[in-house]
Symmetry: C2
Subunit: 418 residues, 2 copies
């Protein structure tokens, strides 16, 4: 971390006081710290109290230290670590020293067998809108400081592996177009279009027309401006509306980074929209953050960053969205490590922009967002989050690619201008 | 069809009597035929009675005709078409005229919305053995007449599309090895090895050692002989045993064409075997006939051809086998049309071998098998059957391929000798 603003406001406790036996902490505090450490057994992480008392969760050399700067932070964390770690960190009552991502990855792997907490999710057209606004209407100028130039806020595809973020986002968009089988003249429905980069890319490079839905006013405004500037506003229509309002038929259905905000109770409605709008031989692509097994989102991320979000398993998507509508899976790919690399790039830019960020946003907000990026990178590295792309068509459609090799051809297979 | 033996023993009724109004059939027979035809509405298929009475299920030109040669066949078919079509055909009381596969494809597509019949499935180690013996112990010399030279009785991979069956089976084996991430020196567990072609291919071309399980005595005998002849018996061990008996650890788990015989109630046991035997960074590949949505196997196929078989959905496999064991999906591919082409090649060879076949097997047996091949080709064309390959690793393992492009490189990415 390059600045105090993002890394914490103070050096985190007296580093010389390494031995728990020499600690001045009360017996209760030490007992509680012991219980906390027990919950992270085998994680190469050290925990430190405000007075320098330290305990490690593993005999191996720690990748970093979690510092509780006061008793209140320790008590809250002990009661509900999933929620209170983020709360304490954002408030500056918990700090991290060392490898931020490593600490998270160690903690996630150590706790991967921990019992799930039951939390209910609620989604309606109304709450989706509020949820998306919570996250995306923070302001375009915030995201501009750490996303790529085209404001693509979804997993990139690093092909080649040393591609820049800008190159990797373009590679992802091309990859999505190929998986969706785009050909010039097709009509595409995009559900959840962010700042519109993919919709514009599809029109520009694959000669299609696009109707793109998004409930975030800020994003739609930005996307429309770009469409006008590029002269694509005749071929790409951005609608500030729920994707469920979509009418008409489309040769392709594309949704990149929306499904994780839809919530399982709305999967049948998503399936309805696809079944209702896809042409008989149309192709679809769902790109979403998912899980290896059903689990609620981290409580703090759900509360502070992505209200209402739920990363589903592949099976939940197949059974909730595709199967009931007679849709057939053609291809599923897990791009988990590409997302770790994507978030790494965002986090690096976020840290590099610390001075600009701190002049415009308050410290607690920035600490929360930095922690979210750190935690997301770690979650993709540790495998508690996945990134799935599912390509599909209607059951029994034989106008599908014979093999996948064409996805990896140097230029676009269909129109040659990718 | 080239011979009477396979296509039917008699010309099927007086072709001049095309008009139902001129029919001599009793009113009841005509009424029943009408009900039968109603069940296939929109299928471009004509139905004909023993006296020439005909009705069509669609106004469009029919691709072929189903001929009921006596009242008993019609009555049975009307009662339970799924089961009694095959029974009647095998017994020679139902015949087909025209495009055999086309008739099936039309019928499957027309009935794809028909209600499912509830049938229970039963699987234990004992019954699996009986089931496999039912199918595979028919005799190697039977399968030699219509499979490829290496006796690969699973979906081939036609890359390029005009590959011969022999080439396509080799391409499939190489593809499976790449998806399983084989490297020289690795130990591989193969569950359900058929006549051993894949196990031998893996050892020969990828320098691995293989333990391959199969409950069919005939197949294991053949496989062991081949291993000895090729000098691979030191590296490939064929075990006449249930795969659940496997012990030790393996760098890769491979199962091609077995899962559809395992039955959902045994998925947890399969998951156990994988979780118990796979190394921490090991890779797995499941290749199986599946469905877009849960549905029992056709009653006749289940009774006469594959007792105990059940083609699962991807979701059923993920939730039954992989998820509970902390395994992560890396890649799912649907090769449905490759299986249609594979079965087409088998059927063509089966028909070409009609003379040899009829000298060794009775007519009803051969008619049943021919119908099974016809029906399978149609089922893959119509999308009532799928062919899925699922590649997986343990959750959170980062030693996985960065991208899939290497699967399509001209030579094997790992050892260069594929």
């Amino acid at each position: 971390m390059s600045t105090n603003l993002v890394s914490g406001t103070s050096p985190a406790g007296p580093v010389e006081a390494r031995d728990a036996t020499r600690s001045r902490a009360a017996a209760f505090d030490r007992w509680l710290l012991g219980r906390v450490v027990l919950g992270f057994q085998s994680a190469r992480v050290r925990f430190r109290l405000w007075d320098g008392t330290e305990m490690s969760a593993s005999d191996a050399a720690p990748v970093g230290t979690v510092v509780f700067k006061d008793r209140r932070a320790l008590l809250a964390f002990a009661r509900d670590p999933e929620l209170q770690f983020g709360e304490g960190y954002a408030a500056g009552r918990i700090d991290l020293i060392g490898d931020f991502v490593g600490i998270h990855e160690e903690a996630i792997r150590a706790r991967s067998g921990a019992p799930e907490r039951g939390r209910r999710l609620r989604h309606s057209s109304g709450s989706s809108r509020e949820d998306a606004r919570h996250h995306y209407d923070v302001g375009n100028d915030f995201y501009e400081l750490w996303l790529d130039r085209e404001m693509v806020y979804t997993c990139a595809y690093f092909d080649p592996p040393d591609a820049t973020l800008e190159e990797a986002q373009r590679a992802k968009m091309e990859y999505v177009c190929r998986k969706a089988g785009l050909r010039p003249g097709m009509a595409v429905l995009e559900a959840g279009c962010g700042w519109g980069a993919l919709a514009l890319f599809m029109a520009r490079h694959h000669g299609v027309t696009v109707k793109a839905y998004n409930v975030s006013k800020e994003q739609v405004r930005w996307a429309r401006r770009r469409a006008r500037e590029e002269g694509l506003d005749g071929r790409v229509e951005f609608l500030e509306a729920d994707y469920r309002a979509a009418q008409g038929t489309f040769d392709a259905f594309v949704s990149v980074g929306m499904l994780e905000h839809v919530g399982p109770e709305n999967y049948p409605a998503l399936g309805d929209v696809i079944a209702r709008t896809l042409t008989p031989t149309g192709r679809g692509l769902l790109h979403f953050i998912g899980r290896d097994r059903p689990e609620p989102l981290n409580a703090w991320i759900e509360k502070r960053i992505f209200p209402g979000a739920y990363p589903p398993t592949v099976a939940e998507v197949l059974e909730g969205v595709l199967q009931p509508k007679g849709l057939s899976v053609l291809d599923v790919e897990n791009l988990r490590l590409h997302y770790a690399k994507t978030v790494h790039a965002w986090r690096t830019r976020f840290e590099a922009a610390a001075a600009k960020l701190s002049s415009r946003f308050d410290e607690s907000f920035l600490r929360a967002w930095h922690l979210y990026l750190v935690g997301a990178e770690a979650a993709f590295l540790a495998g508690s989050l996945q990134l799935f792309q599912i390509a599909f068509a209607r059951s029994g459609v034989n106008d599908v690619p014979w093999a996948r090799a064409a996805l990896y051809a140097p230029s676009a297979p269909a129109d040659g201008n990718g």
